[in-house]
């Protein structure tokens, strides 16, 4: 099995360097579809996990507030106004 040889030299070959830039059709399309697909799925699931993590942390803050409230109320003998709606 033979491999096609590139028609340009290596990066270290001074004669191979570009001396001009020419616009080509479709030349910018170098990203593989598989990479984009996997990146999209990773980003979407990361966003979702980030949101769940934020919820978890907010729940933690709520629990801290409840503990502080309980502590303060137990020190004063309990609430007089009853539970909130």
């Amino acid at each position: 099995m033979t491999q096609a040889q590139p028609d340009t030299g290596t990066a270290t070959d001074p004669s191979a360097r570009s001396t001009e830039f020419v616009a080509v059709q479709g030349g910018g399309d170098t990203t593989s579809a598989a990479t984009l697909l996997v990146t999209a799925y990773i980003v979407m699931w990361a966003l979702l996990l980030g949101f769940v993590l934020m919820s978890w942390r907010r729940q933690g803050r709520v629990e801290t507030r409840i503990s502080e409230l309980e502590k303060a109320l137990s020190g004063s003998g309990g609430p007089k106004g009853g539970a909130a709606d």
């Binding site: 979407m44 979702l48 919820s55 004063s76 609430p79």
Partner: protein
């Protein structure tokens, strides 16, 4: 009652997880690759991108209805649901706005273009972001709640504009489903999309429920703290 609600929540969570596992395996293993002009393999982003957009519409509608109800008759529950709707709309909007450009890179050659649908979608997501930021940093007073509710209604008014922007103003965004669209030409493609809609609806339901419950708990604690401070039992 709480025990029954918990059981229902866990059942919904298990069903959602199962349907997502099925959806991912179906999309990657069974659904055929689309034509190159549609992005080829990258077109498979579509089966999550479109349901995420739909979930954003759904959460935005929940936010709008609850906000309007709050403006008509304020209550902690209505405010909590409106807030949860805006938060979930931001999450699904972010999922849509990050997956879309990655697909567009393959299909259009660029990540972003100021296409009418893309621009109106970004605008709508930014409105929901403003609702979330307002509620997070501007306090929990009546005026802030009402202002956020008005913004929540405004954000949803933009949703039909997003939907019909392609038909009215053209642009690059494909119109495959619905008016003017050619449809999905393979049964597996249609099945993947429908499963995606079901999965995202269930996920949106779960997120809305848990966030609304959390927001309501925060409101109840704030009211308890206010009462305790007013009665002199709490001094902070």
């Amino acid at each position: 009652m709480t025990g029954q609600k918990d059981k229902l929540f866990y059942a919904l969570l298990a069903a959602t997880a199962a349907i997502f596992v099925y959806l991912i395996s179906f999309v990657f293993l069974k659904t055929p690759v689309a034509q190159l002009q549609a992005g080829g393999l990258a077109q498979k982003i579509f089966y999550f991108h479109v349901p995420a957009a739909y979930a954003m519409y759904l959460c935005g509608t929940v936010c709008c209805v609850s906000s309007a109800m709050y403006l008509a008759g304020p209550s902690d529950a209505r405010d909590a649901v409106a807030r949860a709707g805006a938060e979930c709309a931001v999450v699904f909007g972010a999922m849509m706005l990050t997956s879309g450009p990655l697909w567009a890179k393959k299909a259009w050659g660029v990540y972003w273009t100021w296409d009418p649908r893309l621009t109106t979608t970004l605008l709508s997501v930014l409105v929901y972001v403003s609702v979330v930021v307002l509620r997070a940093f501007a306090g929990n007073g009546e005026a802030e709640r009402k202002f956020a509710s008005a913004l929540g209604v405004l954000g949803t008014v933009n949703l039909p504009i997003i939907h019909y922007s392609v038909l009215k103003w053209g642009g690059n965004h494909p119109t495959v489903i619905g008016q003017g669209g050619g449809g999905l030409k393979h049964p597996a493609m249609l099945q993947a999309l429908l499963t995606g809609f079901v999965a995202m609806t269930m996920l949106a339901g779960l997120l809305l429920w848990s966030r609304a419950r959390l927001a309501l708990a925060v409101s109840r604690i704030a009211r308890l703290e206010e009462r305790a401070i007013a009665s002199g039992e709490l001094d902070y």
